[in-house]
Symmetry: C2
Subunit: 405 residues, 2 copies
């Protein structure tokens, strides 16, 4: 029977590609170190919590209500207090299907087409299409080694005020910024909060990577400094395992209760929440400390590989945490084109234009180092240098040899 | 710091109420029989699958891609073939965060404000606000003891055609209809499919309850009769446990690949998919048969309680499956008011107007019988009869006594 059901889809929706497995050299996405997944402790946690409370799976929301499994919210309240200075009540935490559902819910609850939002110029790549779909106008602020540029932010706020535009929120990643990996120091956080107070601006703080800090030292969250105006989104994807899809929104009840009204899915997966709560109560801190040592070793492997294969032709700052390195390529290289060519050869990297609206975004790439092992990192970066040289004639020197075209 | 962050929410979003636990007599929602949750088998499944594949949690999508854990899709393909005559490939199945995300994704992929959709007049209560949010115009078709009225459907299609309106899809629950519990016989399914073919209409088939049939005999799904035009949504919430939040969309790749483009959450919870796949491969059929016996016994308890406390004043048909009974109350009773008063007294029922656009919807209530035990059912229905009598003067006779006001 010949019938074109696809003709009934919304015209802007692209066809998804068929999935063909991960590329052999996978430097994209938030994939984590598989060897660091705490399998045995998760098994024990699943066994314990199912044995004790398995029957509660028979009701929606277990016995915890639509905010999600209460023991996990209690863990989070304590952890966010200890690590980030926040004083959220467990009933001001909504568990979500990953932080991505968190982003979608906050946008769905707060944005109307035509709204203006302020975002960092270099940013999580997934935020740009989200804000576009919401019909929001983006005002971008440059970032530097300490995060968002406060003077530029102040100037933008003044300009918007003069134009009679009231922005809906500032979306910001102050701790282990994506893609630069920077951690904003306290004094800059305080200046940003003061400006937001002066202009009556809500803050939408995304802290997905903030558990991944080599030193373990984390400044207070913006949600700690300005709890009255901050919607704080986080995740267990980076600290435990991305496939689990458990994130959270922390916000004052007045706004969280409305965000909850936009959540129509009858709760996020309870088993994952139960297993995480059981695991985290006993093992979170020791697990994260161990994971950070593994990730830092991979970062060192990546930096050594870049030194070896790209030499002085690339620029980057060693990040204090996270799972990615933001790398500036030699002049003349177009990173969008490089990413396309490399993908065809099994090396996947994120081109800068997807992660930055900056004028020089085409010179940058984001390299995620958490998933591949050290040898794969070394070989993949070597291949990337060869591909770059074949396409753009640079880097000429690398791998103890001079490349010739 | 005084700051009204709620003023930044979209104005149509209501504040959610605080959750205060389930009511003592809980006859609403899709909660299931807690004693039937297969806890020990789920524990064993979690242990086995985590031990074998736990490390794959370190990557998004495990090693299965964005459609979800492939062994669960393989189980579903085989089960839907066996039980519903469908011949879906595992790569034409998308795992979702419950069937509710499935509904939202299909609507998001297919509906543009102003579109017309055809729906059954009595229907899953959650579909009406979903279609309203999507800006769709609903054309409603009455239902009878065999499901949607085909003559009324044909007349509506002819009327729409004459008006130059091309509806986007027919949303329909042919198997264990919600709220009536009916199962549409094969000949009526065939007539509906023929009409959809004649009018070039896609079908959006919701079969959440179709595993719950006392006889175990299930007619072929519409997706089996018209695979080229049917988007089929189902769930494990009713057959295993609602808190797990694992549902699925089955559709031709041409449309599924676009529905997938509307899924922005980096996958649904992998652990629940893994545990379900491991459990279902070994235990699905025996578990569902046992669950159905438990549910049918609860239905019998509910019918006995209605006979005892409401006597001949209520009308209903004994459903061949499912977890709810659709009950017509005595003349003069307003079920919306009854549900309000009863809720204050700890007895929760779904008022008919939320589950039907029919003119007499205010006479009906939906009573879910899966969660409370037989004694709670009996006591709750007794209380409901007393509350109904106190408010509306009926039923006068029940519980072996004549009520006096």
């Amino acid at each position: 029977m010949n019938f074109d059901i696809a003709a009934f889809a919304r015209p802007e929706l692209a066809e998804s590609p068929r999935w063909n497995g991960f590329p052999p050299f996978n430097f994209v996405g938030g994939h984590n170190d598989e060897a660091s997944v705490p399998v045995e402790a998760l098994r024990a946690a699943a066994d314990a919590v199912l044995g004790r409370e398995g029957r509660t799976l028979g009701t929606y929301f277990l016995q915890s209500g639509p905010l999600g499994y209460r023991p996990l919210r209690e863990f989070l309240a304590a952890k966010l207090k200890r690590a980030a200075g926040m004083s959220a009540d467990p009933d001001e935490i909504l568990l979500t299907s990953g932080s991505l559902q968190g982003l979608d819910l906050v946008n769905a609850a707060m944005l109307t087409p035509g709204d203006t939002v302020i975002v960092e110029e270099s940013n999580y790549g997934g935020i740009f299409p989200r804000l576009q779909r919401a019909g929001a106008r983006m005002v971008t602020i440059p970032v530097d080694e300490q995060g968002m540029d406060v003077d530029a932010f102040a100037a933008a706020l003044a300009r918007l005020k003069a134009d009679g535009v009231r922005p809906k929120f500032l979306y910001i990643i102050p701790t282990v910024h994506n893609p630069t990996g920077t951690i904003m120091p306290l004094d800059r956080r305080e200046r940003i909060v003061a400006l937001c107070r002066e202009h009556g601006l809500p803050i939408f703080e995304d802290e997905c990577y903030s558990d991944l800090i080599w030193s373990g030292e984390r400044p207070p969250a913006l949600a700690a400094l300005a709890p009255e105006r901050t919607v704080h989104v986080g995740s267990f994807s980076k600290s435990i395992a991305p496939a689990l899809r458990v994130g959270y929104i922390v916000a004052p009840w007045a706004i969280l209760s409305r965000i909850l009204s936009a959540k129509h899915d009858a709760g996020s997966g309870a088993l994952e929440q139960m297993v995480l709560a059981e695991f985290c109560a006993a093992h979170f801190d020791t697990h994260v400390a161990k994971l950070n040592r593994a990730l830092e070793a991979k970062l060192d492997a990546l930096i050594a590989a870049l030194d070896e294969h790209f030499g002085a032709s690339v620029e980057f700052s060693r990040p204090p945490g996270g799972i990615f390195l933001w790398v500036k390529l030699p002049e003349g290289v177009d990173s969008t084109r490089l990413a396309e060519v490399a993908a065809e050869k099994g090396v996947a990297v994120n081109p800068g234009r997807e992660w930055s609206k900056g004028g020089d975004a085409g010179r940058w790439i984001r390299i995620c180092f958490a998933n591949p092992g050290p040898e794969t990192i070394r070989e993949g970066i070597g291949r990337l240098a060869d591909i770059c040289h074949a396409e753009f004639g640079t880097p000429e020197i690398g791998g103890n040899r001079r490349r010739t075209s």
